[in-house]
Symmetry: C2
């Protein structure tokens, strides 16, 4: 009670930052990357402006917000300052310590999604256990606390082992495929010694990847997007195609229903991305298996900015504010998103010139740049194309992204686009 | 030469604001209203962030930008500060004194559109003269420097007089329809005495209004949008329907060609809106007549945010930066934009609650709020609906806008929407 009274006095005393129009909600976002940046464009049209907890004033999202607090999301006081007076607190990553979020909630702060749900996007072992309990399709898995655990699992799955760091992995980081018992033993020994909590699961016979996305409000309303095909290169999302082409109707329905069931079962609020493996089961049948979960806007949902009535960024804001969710029908036959990752060596042609060349060749290209400097492999932009025909749309997206990365056109690319 | 050297030193010395990512162009916008605000959402996705010259930190656009200079657009030094180091300077209104722009251009600043073009959006008499010289359809008009001029014009057009302030009029302000010779004489006498430069033109037999919009780059490339029908209430735009329904193909083509011809003929850069009257000519035939010009994003182009591949805000930025223009195909059969103007008495229900109710009833509503406080008649938001069928789309847009204004549903409105 004392704490609540202090909080409410502090709120009353805090002067409202001029970024926030009277009568409009304040959403505080912990994080300053491109997801927060693109939430800000959605916020602007909804009459809002985000408050950011950012690491620097020139971070991707901080460039485009005026209410920016500089601080560290691992520091409770910094997170508390960002939350003060906010109608909802949300995230552009999963790395805020949950004990900080518990502390905020104890003070009456409206944190969305809640740490009870977030844990399943933070800890892969907790996620696997919960998914199994909910009856969602997951491969055999085990907690790995010792080399012995690892070798026992190797034998259990006949050497088809995928080893994972329980926390902090993304874009292929924190995932290993040791190909002998000895390699597994060495790797597990080193990782445990370095203090990395581990789990292992059986490798699947991968035929493709899907992403099933849904938004859910604290009141329990859900709204799914069409399931998309996600194409990975070197463990990183390279492309998303909406809706997933050549997808069996039953699988599509299963994926969509699964995303809604998981959003409800895990108590997710905001956007949930369910990354799915399409794999060949033991009996030869094609089946789904959950790979990862993310509880925020997700790379495989960027297509919604240009190909859908309600973008994932707008929907995330609506969801965390417990507003009614928007319609998710597509506005084109196909929308293809292609990621722009920093090349090994940044071409001499400056990015603004590359953008000009892509605009010249493809008047339909929707280029989204994150305001980030080049770094090899870094996600610095994506490009969306909407079109009637899959192949032409996909070719155009790939060619445009290729040019933004390399400042050259791929050999096969068409001058025409869609 | 000396001036240029000073400018370039000043630029080199100026520290780049962290809002602006390395290698990305800086567009400075003079003005802080909703047009600048919506340019910022387009700028963000293009990897940019605007620099604003704003009157206050809580102005509509200033809420959502971080590089904000407070100042007065009638003060040359303030405009000069905003222009410093910018790749282009543009506007969200027409009220910057042209002598200031000439001074900037003399210093080497890239002002778009140029004052030589802007004058035709600022001074209605200059506009009429130039349009006539270009062969564009305009009603008979006259410069009015005296009561005698006015009475002579009254006789010339048999009393069908529309009297206009040459500068500063908008949304029905600065336009009068005196219905007797005496009323005309009195009004003209008073206005001239108050120092208001005047012109008069013949009233047209109005059957409807269209808006033909186009963007043009400094290199001379043009790209038009589909012509829209614009519905006015009390002299203010209430609705825009894209594309204009039931429009004769020849008239549509004429309107579009006219917008392109005027953009070229006037040397416009950025977005040009040509407001057109559809009128009954002397011979009974339906014909077009130019009403007004605006050289910036325009209220009748707001539909492009949700119903078109390239929005007018993105296109304006591309145009003033001399980038290739984007595709302007529509993404739905019909898009209807309805304006939200402050009611005479603001309803007790707060705006955020009204937004929630509209979202609940219409999941397809695209609400765009400007972060402005209520004032009777003030433009505070608009709502876009895309749909297959005109009537349902239009009903939904009207009902949503009505609720945002009055916090009540119009009697006829459907629960279903499109």
């Amino acid at each position: 009670m004392v704490i609540e009274a202090q909080q409410s006095n502090a709120e009353a005393n805090q002067q409202r930052h001029p970024a926030h129009a009277p009568d409009m909600p304040i959403v505080a976002v912990i994080g300053d990357g491109q997801l927060a940046r693109m939430m800000q464009t959605a916020a602007i049209e909804l009459g809002q402006s985000l408050r950011l907890l950012a690491s620097s004033n020139d971070a991707s999202a901080a460039q485009v917000c005026s209410d920016v607090l500089l601080g560290d999301y691992t520091n409770l006081e910094d997170v508390r300052r960002a939350a003060q007076g906010a109608d909802a607190v949300t995230f552009d990553h999963e790395h805020v310590p949950n004990e900080h979020l518990d502390a905020l909630i104890a003070q009456g702060v409206n944190v969305q999604p809640r740490p009870e749900a977030l844990i399943y996007a933070q800890d892969k072992l907790e996620m696997r256990k919960k998914l199994q309990a909910l009856g969602a399709p997951v491969p055999p898995f085990a907690r790995i606390d010792s080399v012995e655990d690892a070798l026992a699992f190797w034998d259990q799955v006949q050497g088809e082992v995928c080893l994972k760091a329980r926390r902090g992995g993304y874009d292929g980081h924190g995932v290993w495929f040791p190909d002998t018992r000895e390699a597994l033993a060495t790797q597990v020994g080193e990782l445990l010694e370095a203090g990395t909590p581990l789990m292992a699961e059986e490798k699947v016979a991968l035929r493709g990847e899907l992403s099933a996305m849904v938004a859910r409000t604290p009141s329990g309303a859900t709204q799914a997007w069409p399931v998309v095909e996600s194409v990975q290169r070197d463990g990183v999302c390279a492309e998303a195609v909406a809706p997933a082409p050549n997808l069996d109707v039953a699988l599509r329905q299963q994926a969509e229903e699964l995303s809604v069931a998981l959003a409800n079962g895990l108590g997710v609020t905001g956007v949930l991305a369910v990354e799915l493996f399409v794999c060949q089961g033991k009996d030869g049948a094609v089946e789904l298996s959950v790979n990862e979960l993310a509880m925020r806007p997700h790379n495989t949902g960027h297509w919604t900015q240009d190909g859908c009535c309600t973008s994932q960024f707008e929907q995330h804001l609506r969801a965390v504010l417990d507003l009614p969710l928007g319609d998710t029908h597509t506005t084109a036959n196909y929308t293809v998103m292609a990621n722009v990752l920093g090349a090994a060596h940044d071409p001499a042609m400056p990015m603004n010139k590359r953008v000009l060349e892509v605009m010249r060749r493809y008047p339909k290209a929707k280029i989204h740049l994150y305001g980030k400097e080049h770094r090899p492999g870094r996600k610095i932009a994506h490009v969306n194309f909407c079109g009637e025909h899959l192949e032409a749309t996909r070719n155009a997206a790939q060619a445009a992204a290729h040019f933004l990365v390399h400042a050259t056109w791929p050999e096969q690319s068409s001058e025409q686009g869609e």
